[in-house]
Amino acid sequence: ACSAGGVKSSAAPQSGAKTLVIDTSFDLKTADPGRTYEPTGLFVGKAVYETLLTFDGSDVTKPVPALAESYTLSDDGKVLTLKLKQGATFADGSPVTADDVVFSLTRVRDMKGTPSFLLDGVEVAKTDDSTITLTSKSPNPALPYILPNPALGVLNSKVAKEHGATTDSGDKAEQYLNSASAGSGPYTIESFNLTSQVVLKANPKYYGTKPSYDRVVIRNVEAATQKLNIQRGDSQVALNLSGDQVTGMPSTLQVKKTASANVIFLLANQDSAVSKATPNAKFVEALRKGVDYAGLLELAGEGSTQAPGIIPSQLLGALPADQAAKRDVEGAKAALAASGVSNPTVKLEYPSELTVNGLSFQPLAERIQANLKEVGITVDLAPAPVTTALDNYRNGKEELGLWYWGPDYPDPSDYLAFLPGKLVGLRAGWKDGAAKDISAAGDKAATAIGDEARKAAYAEVQQKLNEGGPFIPLIQPSQNIVTAASVSGLEYHPVWTVDVADLTAK
């Protein structure tokens, strides 16, 4: 069936081409930016698509221009105006236009894919060929922080439409976008396999600085194997090593340990129909004082930090480290006694196979179980596959839950979900009106404008949450990235982990 052999050579790698091998445990469902929301998907999306704004390196406090060369937010925080950069081109050489931007953003919002909430209630309009306005119904100071999300990458609308892209749920372009790229990023997709590997190649038509590596192979590899691979030189980057796994790495490898923006927390259900013990405020206090935070940090490894509040340390409004809870066994026992609950037995549910930054929930849960036993609280562990566990979590049926929250966008407003009656609050059985003062503090924070005001408002929300809320923030595990000596320029980013284009070969 093979015809002439002349064409074959094009499949073989050109000599001198630089290949970078990245090992990661895949959490990947698609390469369609309008649907992607998983870490690996965002990682790929960042390399293949460009967004209007972005962040510089790992600094998430200030959005910087990308496809848009500048932006202004109106004083009421409702209208964001962006000026498009000239000269940007897609992988097929055609220019990036305001129409492409409008189409892409509208598509994300109206297709009702996973990331559509990012633009909930945001109207996208083109004022002229180089100006875009985004209008929200209520003040939306977070919008500039939302726009860098790779899910909001700009598609080549012409190509996408040819392959079935529409701005409603009838969109059919995913198939195509999983095999090719319609973006303007530094890389294009060479091959895409959800379960084994994704191969990127440098976009020859890229208008910006050419990336250092011509070819990037992203492989789906278990954390343990990632470690072996990188030590053997089989790969150059390993993304998901746990704290234990990076200890004792040979000096020839660079290990970058950064506290991730993921916060692991414990939730105690406030619904008395779900539990007799956990709605009791004193009982929650006993939990809070009973957990051995230092012990958990030990499990998570070097580089991880205790989370003082629900907002991770990188973000505006995070609580200072000295406000973190401390273990106090006697205090916990006292609180337990005061709660009036005797010989409590509670069920701790958590996703068994989930790992956050290479850290498995399993040992954490076992540690917490052991900690609370010392206090006099019996914890039954109820691990379940994510699917099953999520179901109970989402329906607010978990007595105790161990989960994590990663920022959808690096702005504290993302964390208002933890308030009573809100997304996560409801999962803890915390109904609207259950804690009026906390809700009020949240409303204040949501509308505060100006960094200082927002900082103070969010700090107050968290302090109140820590006093009377059902959540016990535990730790921010360390994101440990190991790279071969030959790779430099690596920065950890809380949203897309690593920007491949930043990496350079020494």
Binding site: F117, T195, N220, T225, L228, P385, A389, L390, D408
Partner: protein, 365 residues
């Protein structure tokens, strides 16, 4: 009165050999195949039903596994997602729709990968078949050889040693062995290549069969071929250890049993050399039970891949099945069930055909 045959008493005029005469009947092979196909269809239907019922027994909601935490909070998105995947219909109707799709050759769309399940399977199944096929090949060669040696050296040291070794082979937990092998050979001794099917620096050959070794050989990419073989070696051996042990035990007893048969004694009484007796008389008969077991063993190899693939990052159907089962990806689980059940049936069919090839009693009814 006619007296016939009086002058040739022993000539046995009508004594045609049995089977030489007979009315025209439907060919036994055709009947056999028909029955097989009917059973296969029944089995396939059973598989869909079982997977459907099982996956719907799960307390979880597939939407939860497939949508982000934020999106889950938005009922509109959840409803939209459920509608897209037909989960808003009553269960029996969902099942019927699925069956209808199957009849049209459509395995449905995977909830996780958003791709046709058939496409996912087309990528993962060959990888697993390559692994399991290599393992069964290795086990057949080694297992049969060991078994024959053990039988011929019966009750001597070699036999005892092989017995202990084969029992160890069937006793080692595959998942543990995979771990140990990977740690020792790849990490400590740096002898074997790492995870995956080929070195990441190489470009995969154009898929023809889906088997990396065959495809690279077809494309004449010998560096890729070497890499593919190297990557295949350790997992295949790990997987094969159990079947090697099994086949060794089995071949030994099959050969011993045949050695005790009259016809072997008769062959020895004819003064034939031992080699001829072994290969022509003994192995031929022993092959029938051996291929039966090899067929069964192939099934257990497919199981074993689930445990081995994760450790060697082998992009096979085992990993896919694991992921699908834990994320309640109903179409994917059903697809895996059907394909794997199909493989089982095909293997059975091959075994049956081999019976016919080996044994004229089967072939000639």
């Amino acid at each position: 009165m006619t007296v016939s045959g009086a002058d040739a008493p022993g000539a046995a005029p009508a004594a045609a050999p049995r089977g030489g005469r007979g009315r025209v009947r439907r060919h036994p092979l055709a009947r056999f195949l028909l029955r097989r196909v009917l059973i296969a269809i029944l089995l396939a239907w059973g598989i869909t039903l079982v997977t459907f019922v099982l996956t719907n027994l799960v307390p979880g909601d597939p939407a939860a596994a497939n949508l982000g935490q934020r999106a889950l909070g938005d009922p509109a998105i959840v409803a939209q997602w459920r509608h897209e995947h037909g989960l808003d219909k009553p269960l029996p109707q969902q099942y019927l729709i699925h069956l209808q799709g199957l009849l049209q050759g459509d395995l449905g769309t995977s909830q996780q990968s958003h791709r046709p399940v058939s496409q996912d399977l087309a990528e993962t199944v060959p990888a697993t078949l390559e692994l399991a096929g290599a393992a069964i090949l290795v086990s057949l060669v080694l297992g049969v050889a060991f078994g024959v040696v053990a039988a011929l050296r019966r009750d001597r040291l070699t036999d005892h040693a092989l017995r202990v070794l084969s029992l160890i082979g069937i006793s080692v937990p595959t998942f543990w062995l995979a771990l140990v092998a990977f740690y020792v050979f790849f990490y400590r001794l740096q002898l074997t290549p790492g995870s995956g099917r080929i070195d990441p620096g190489l470009t995969a050959p154009p898929p023809v069969t889906g088997l990396a070794t065959v495809d690279s050989a077809l494309a004449g990419q010998w560096d890729v071929f070497a890499s593919a073989v190297g990557h295949l070696l350790t997992p295949a051996l790990v997987l094969a250890l159990y079947t090697i042990g099994l086949l060794t035990r089995f071949t030994r007893s099959a050969v011993l049993e045949v050695l005790g048969q009259d016809y072997v004694r008769a062959a020895r009484a004819k003064g034939l050399p031992g080699r001829v007796i072994l290969f022509r008389y003994v192995l031929r008969s022993a092959l029938v039970p051996i291929i039966t077991v090899a067929g069964l063993a192939f099934g257990s190899l497919l199981s074993g891949t689930v445990l081995v693939e994760a450790i060697f990052a082998w992009p096979g159907v085992g990993q896919y099945a694991y992921k699908s089962a834990t994320t309640l990806d109903l179409p994917a689980v059903m697809g895996v069930g059907l394909v794997v059940g199909g493989v089982y049936l095909v293997i059975n069919l091959i075994v049956d055909v081999l019976y016919g090839v080996i044994d004229p009693r089967v072939r000639l009814q």
